[in-house]
Symmetry: C2
């Protein structure tokens, strides 16, 4: 067994998946065997042991005082959520649909939070009825929850989601700083907190989130420290001690050539003084790091099959049964300004020598349907399996599955 290094040297080596008898294995099972077990391609396979390892690495690196939450939005497959829930300290939701998943797998409502800028009245009522914490993002949400509390005699637990006056530097997605739809502007929070005192709501703390998909430990550390200091400052006006402080996450994974994995030890080390400062200034606060992509992103793979090998004007196209309708992000059409290749392998023949440049495309009638653009690959034939790595997060659910009415992809946890 050897560690899988994606063929294009500039992609970071994969930390978990291994090659056995020249085939990529997921959860110890050869990808061709998985394809038979699923009964079709394409499919997503998530590796149970890899997820466990990733969480263990996080526990090892982060101070023990830090709570670790899983953000379901990254991968809401119920089996995945059920596997992760007992390994972490809580779950974070982005919709009432995710609430249903969390409750069905038996997660404890005391350790569930719900954030999102556009919660409907119905979603707010469902969250309150379930007894989870609502990260309120506007004064309207506070009004709706207070009215519910008066009508039903159930006191909702609320944290204030703050739109900070800083943002996570070099983050893939900026979520704070400047005018934003997320949270309540930091400068308005003191008044909101004073108003809360007169409302039938249980204030529990703050949610402050600077961005996502960051590969720089120093930038993450800086954002976390700023989040803590902002929470400490805001706590002066809070109607009760801060019991919960979600300082976000934003830990990135390497997708593209040239990207290096996040230095997790450096992130963990930077949290030691943060924990000390929090203990002193907010002694009752549970400090939460919320991670989605970082927990599952590297633990999943998208597998499709070559159905045609075409050479057009000297250029090799591997036409597969999978494409952007299952994996929009890998096609470069989900928030990317410049399209770059995800790590793509000929999974059924990982050890075959690299002999040609080929593009991996899908079956759709659009040039956007491109999974790998002019990659150095072994010569693949009809029937070979193609794997797109780094596909455990924001894969299937982030894709236009109805586009051109092609068959659905399956999902398995191995």
């Amino acid at each position: 067994m050897t560690t899988v290094a994606p063929r294009k040297l500039a992609h970071a080596p994969h930390p978990y998946f291994r090659v056995d008898a020249a085939e990529l294995t997921i959860g110890g099972v050869a990808v061709s065997t998985l394809a038979e077990r699923v009964g079709q391609t394409p499919f997503y396979a998530y590796d149970r042991a890899a997820i466990g390892k990733r969480i263990a690495e996080l526990r090892q690196a982060l101070p023990p005082e830090i709570s670790l939450h899983y953000a379901i939005k990254a991968n809401p497959m119920p089996a995945v959520v059920a596997h992760i829930a007992p390994l972490v300290d809580g779950l974070d939701l982005a919709s009432a649909g995710e609430l249903a998943v969390a409750l069905d797998i038996g997660a404890n409502p005391a350790h569930i939070s719900f954030a999102g800028p556009g919660k409907t009245d119905s979603e707010l009522h469902r969250a309150a009825a379930a007894g989870i914490c609502v990260n309120v993002e506007s004064e309207r949400e506070i009004r709706v929850l207070a009215a519910y509390s008066r009508a039903r005699g159930i006191r909702p637990r609320v944290a204030i989601r703050v739109n900070p006056d800083f943002e996570l530097k070099t983050s893939g997605m900026k979520m704070g700083g400047g005018p934003k739809q997320f949270g309540i502007d930091a400068e308005r929070v003191p008044q909101v907190l004073r108003d809360l005192a007169g409302l039938p709501l249980d204030f529990v703390g703050f949610h402050i989130y600077g961005g996502s998909q960051n590969l720089r430990a120093d930038a993450i550390a800086e954002a976390e420290h700023k989040a803590l200091e902002l929470a400490i400052a805001l706590s002066a006006d809070a109607p009760a001690p801060v019991q919960l402080l979600n300082i976000g996450g934003g830990f990135g994974i390497p997708y593209f050539p040239g990207e290096q994995p996040l230095d997790l030890k450096a992130v963990g080390d930077s949290l030691q003084p943060l924990v000390a400062r929090a203990k002193q200034a907010l002694p009752q606060a549970e400090v939460v790091i919320e991670l989605g992509r970082y927990i599952v992103g590297e633990c999943g793979v998208y597998v499709c099959r070559v159905i045609d090998r075409k050479v057009s004007r000297g250029h090799v196209f591997l036409v597969t049964d999978g494409g952007l309708h299952h994996h929009l992000a890998a096609s470069g059409n989900f928030g990317q300004v410049v399209r770059k290749n995800y790590p793509v392998l000929v999974a059924s023949a990982v050890d075959r020598a690299v002999t040609e440049q080929a593009s991996v495309v899908g079956p759709l009638c659009t040039p956007l349907d491109l999974l790998g653009d002019r990659m150095e690959l072994p010569r693949a034939q009809e029937g070979d399996l193609i794997a797109v790595l780094q596909s455990g997060a924001y894969g299937l659910t982030a894709s236009p599955q109805g586009f051109l009415s092609h068959p659905a992809a399956h999902e398995i946890l191995v």
Copy 2:
């Protein structure tokens, strides 16, 4: 009643939808009444009469000898396809899923074609069993169909999809010219045609397609004439007379500020000499223009509701219950390099004066979830309905509906 002009002057006026009692109407019904009839927001509404008008305009402009096909991929809602099918001369498919829709609504297989670069063996068998025409895109597809014909005694009808040596100028999506996964390279087609003569397949013609979403009549005319000339040249090696010639479509609609509608009369005029030339050189050929977006794109609207009005650091955000999970293209994340605003209206108050700059966002935890970026709009309140125009094509099915597990959007044909 007055014609709706989207508030931002630079968007082209809308050709079909009208305002009555200050509300946008679809199919003559006020949008607020439609929302009650659907029972929820968000929803897509498609206007039956508008689709009929658009097809009538096409019939008026195009020479009577031109056949008009509908490309189901643009909008595969069965009610829409059933409405369009009797108004056009045939249907074009991009998958076996679309084949099922076409057969279920009772379309005649004699006037159905199936194109797509990655047809599976199963899809090819299904197409042959249904008796539709397969636009073969590779030598493998020819092999698979010939084997099916020998095994089953059913002779499939095939057209050759040609990857031309030209492309549609200034097209949004380039589908020909250079190395491509679409079709068989023009220079290899003569040999493929000679080989066809010995196979148990019925050759019926060619499919030559240069690109899509083009707003320039001269560019479309040029591509159509080139397609015809290429077909005439290739026909020299054909095993039978050309009966079917699909010269593509690519007619665009104006989405963004500054874009002008296609000059349909100019396109129609340019087809007169083409029809004459085809009659002389390919006397048995039915010449087909295949349109999807142009038929339905302007006849549909996406409607969502303002659930929160937030002012963050001086910037107004209308947070709606709809977003990129239902309408990826309007968020600027589907193949667009630079994000631009679709025409967006406060549909429940179209005549309210424009008084502010606001951004229309969705409920998702991502800054990508943006339907309108700093648009000049009337002051909208919680409960107001927002309409995104130009949403009849590549809307719901081209969107990641499972993203963050929010409720599904409905679709209605009015």
